[in-house]
Symmetry: D2
């Protein structure tokens, strides 16, 4: 790596994932933020949207059409699903693209159509896209032009479950995933249910049996299980900004115990700095603001069952942090570069 910094654009920089990408990129030693787009806010300085960055020397927000891509090496795309695909299809060939939307995560266009209620506009790109679960698809990510970063819930679920399914330690067809998330998972859009007074001092499930991250989780587990899989997946909204914890209830195979599962996870992730297997119960505050994902396993009261936990910061390892991890992989940088911030607790 020479001293020349990579020039990075952030498309859809007005949302929370875009802002967290900017936060992390601003501290990345080999990167320069060369363009920031947000069509509805074009013309404004970025600090007008996110005053915490007013002191940084950042390019102003422009429309995506107004960017001169010639000198830019890669983009991180923080657009909402459905709008990302057309924008990405319009980008020049030389750009590497790390997409944080849901548009290129589902490998099968018909599953995409069923899940998102519209046909896919860029099926060729969909076929080309690499699923960006960093620790599992490193080699393909390194070669990819377009990487689709997994959703926050799938990142937490798959980091926990893929090695266990692959090792035959748990049943893939009786997975019950009870997920809890902070509110930033819903983005910065104006919806009544995201108002402070609707969320504070309360808790509720949402998207029961119908959340769009379930097919994504199923797709990847099925690849490891070698057969179609249906999971039970129920997210809940918790009155906090960041953080996500998945409690997974599973049946073990062949008498495997929690200790066996932890050993398998520890072995699989031995050389991965961001994935930590812990003995105590993990909490979201142990990962806040960082790119870590903590995993844990306990024997259940019911014989043959285990209780598994996976926790991460939905805006970092669940989105922007993994995006930058993939950026590092794509450009041959140290994978942890710019992502070494410790969690912020309290």
């Amino acid at each position: 790596m020479t001293d020349k910094r990579l020039k990075i654009g952030v498309i859809g920089a007005s949302g929370y994932t875009g802002a967290d990408a900017v936060r992390l990129l601003a501290g990345h030693p080999h990167v320069e933020i060369a363009a920031l787009t947000a069509n509805a806010q074009a013309g404004k300085p970025y600090g007008a949207l996110y005053p915490q960055f007013a002191g940084l020397d950042l390019p102003p927000l422009v429309k995506v059409e107004a960017v001169d891509w010639q000198d830019i090496d890669a983009v991180i795309c923080g657009l909402p699903h459905s709008t990302a695909q057309d924008v990405i299809a319009s980008l020049p060939e030389h750009l590497k693209i790390i997409d944080m939307s849901a548009d290129f995560r589902l490998r099968d266009a018909s599953v995409y159509a069923d899940t998102y209620g519209r046909s896919h506009d860029a099926p060729d790109l969909l076929a080309e896209a690499v699923y960006g679960l960093s620790e599992h698809y490193r080699a393909a990510i390194a070669e990819a032009r377009l990487v689709a970063c997994p959703g926050c819930y799938p990142t937490a679920a798959l980091t926990l479950l893929l090695p266990l399914v692959a090792a035959g330690l748990i049943d893939a067809d009786d997975l019950i995933i009870d997920a809890k998330s902070g509110v930033t998972g819903a983005g910065r859009s104006l919806k009544e249910q995201n108002l402070f007074a609707e969320v504070a001092e309360g808790l509720h499930p949402y998207g029961v049996a119908a959340h769009r991250h379930a097919p994504e989780i199923e797709q990847e587990i099925a690849l490891k299980a070698g057969a179609p899989v249906t999971v039970s997946f129920t997210p809940h909204l918790v009155p906090m900004n960041r953080g996500e914890l998945l409690s997974v209830y599973a049946r073990t195979r062949n008498g495997a115990k929690a200790a066996d599962l932890k050993k398998a996870l520890s072995s699989f992730y031995a050389d991965n700095a961001f994935i930590r297997i812990v003995d105590d119960v993990p909490g979201t505050r142990h990962v806040r603001g960082s790119n870590f994902c903590l995993l844990a396993a306990f024997d259940d009261r019911i014989e043959g069952r285990v209780i598994l936990f996976s926790t991460l910061d939905n805006l970092v390892k669940g989105s922007s942090g993994q995006a930058i991890q993939n950026l590092n992989i794509m450009f041959g940088l140290d994978e942890n570069c710019g992502l070494r911030q410790q969690p912020l607790f309290p």
Copy 2:
């Protein structure tokens, strides 16, 4: 009912459940608060502990030994488990007792010993005590001298599950209960894990596979199932004061669907003002500060599975509110008396 008010003592009035009993009793038209005890705080006016009540005309805190019980009709006991049993054993015979501790909930003294790590000091009272799940044991409560109010989690779990198990609609041996609770469930005791900065902006499980409410839930379900039951029960701590939501993952029997379960619940609770079966996802904020318990059922993505929810305010229906409901039943008052406050939202 004449105009004469019942004279009620609150033993262990310094904790949150004691304070919520005072809050509700202060608005109860047929009750007078005649004694308040808290041994470590004896001598103080109650408003010194709970300034919100400084304007009420309440008796000062005294030691339990200092109370003249002669004119008192009943006590609500808010002592911690293990300390309640000796105090209750020492009370005069004429008193009706509503205990909010865990000391008289487990019908079998050996299960109590296993669960709470000590032998029971008052096995005779244990045998006499009636389990105070109001909607299920009304007749026995009406005749009881000592009522053991269920734990907050068991109240939520059993209100949801007992009618379904009794009706043979769900399997009793594959119940997975993922519980989420606000912080008041831990009481007012000084523990590092209950400090604001340890809890706010975070979420974590606790008591994994080892929470003391599991045997209580199992005991009551087993009675309905007619066989021993083991449940999977995992509580999580959520950064809010009040409220509890249980997400229960169950297998149905004989092809029963969520709609069948809702019909059974609606039928069972038809004349019970505090139990409401809802169609949308329930949230803790819909019950905050009230004696309501909301139940809901949804078909899962996995065939043959359902996702069930139960939510209540842990300090009200999960503790003090149910205690007063039982008081009303024991004295032949309108069961809803003093408990008609609507939820406080936002």
Copy 3:
């Protein structure tokens, strides 16, 4: 008072103040909720907007034009400022009206125009309206047809300051009011600044030197001071749902001390159940969900200065509770009727 219940309509029932009026009216023994309006939500059951009330027997939401006012005795109006005046002007003469908006609070139409950026459409009604600070204008409220409930900040400020200014104990021309409020003060409208993630884990001032409640505070203090008054007033947004605390920094006159001020306040509010003068520092949690307002006074480090506090629940004493208090006064009911709920803490 006979057993006949007053029939009350709530206009603009979709907002938080409307909902809190419903919460309190539902427990009022002499009142029946006869109409609920919300133009944008007309046709929906009220429980669709506020599920906590789904179990109550309430009329469905209708447009204000669709209400048959004939049998209705009074309305509580929870519309936003600017929209309330036209609706209120259109109501039939027989209705008593308690308006919670800002439209009839400023006695001078030109001050209204300056403050709200538009001329007043109903200056005759403005002249007729009685300022509904219950404890200070009881006699006029009792005779009024139209009562303008004070803003939440003015209620807290004036309850504290009017008796002190009237008694000549403090300077009226050097009043510094630092106000802190929960988020419900901003209503249920969709604004980015009210999103959970924008508010939680943070604090900031707003409306600096320009908040619309300042002229209202000045108007009423000037009446007592007998001369125009300008106050320093700075509100801050705090990450909580309900509650408001004003810290007022004042110079005393003639060597008056905090003790003198407390004596004057205690004397003034001697027979007023909702106003309590406390010795310890008051907190918003001591009034949450209740109609209480707590006042306190301390000598400052700077000689001749005092530090004063006033706290209330912005949705109750700061809005719906005071509205119902005024309703009680207007109809000759016990002033405290329906408002005796104790604060909800924790």
Copy 4:
């Protein structure tokens, strides 16, 4: 600067300021954490107290007496006031010491005695200590062996006020400081008032006219004003973890306006990366987790008055961050080294 890393010890590493020092030191490129002490927790790995750091290669906690100081270059001391002075007095001469306690902040031992209710055990060290307000005492800090980091409130107050008093733009004898702080300011000690349920969904003042940071603020302003000063200082506890905002109400001199004050502040802090003068209202969330301090000024409604704001993260610029900034100054490192993390929002 060679590649050799400074060896740093953290004394009193069990509290929140100690933990935040560890967080920041862990990312400091020229520093190695060589010792961690916490007498009551000696023997434990640091990750047992702060699981977020369990993956770091840190020395275990030891008693302060057990440290071999020989190879250590400097210590950051996070002990509580009163206990710090004896420990610091016992340290070997070669160590540079950055104390975050209150023990060496007050220059006059008699003011210390009055404020902290005990005589000072190390008056010679008190005389030697340099007040560590980095931007104001850089030269002295660079030469110091013992630096006393200012309190969190004094840092916010003095950063705002010192340049304005020095420039004669505001009166020093009518300063009213209304401070609001998150809960971590109270540390990790077990006190009922710091329990989650005591703090969440509420707000209250504390230490009214008696907070220990007032004499510290007065001491430093008096030095600039050239005369004794008494300030009005009232802190409030806000339900959030981190962050502090001071609203200061001041009279200007010679007709100065807010714009003049901002110009003076901008000029004074022109080359200081961590102090930013902003035009919009600042919020604590714009500094969370960072070493920034934001300042703002507005003209008040009252002629001749201004409303000033200062906000910082109490654990960073208000404590550990400023400690590390001082460490950098003391060892001739780039002052911003290890402190460039952007704020974490949301």
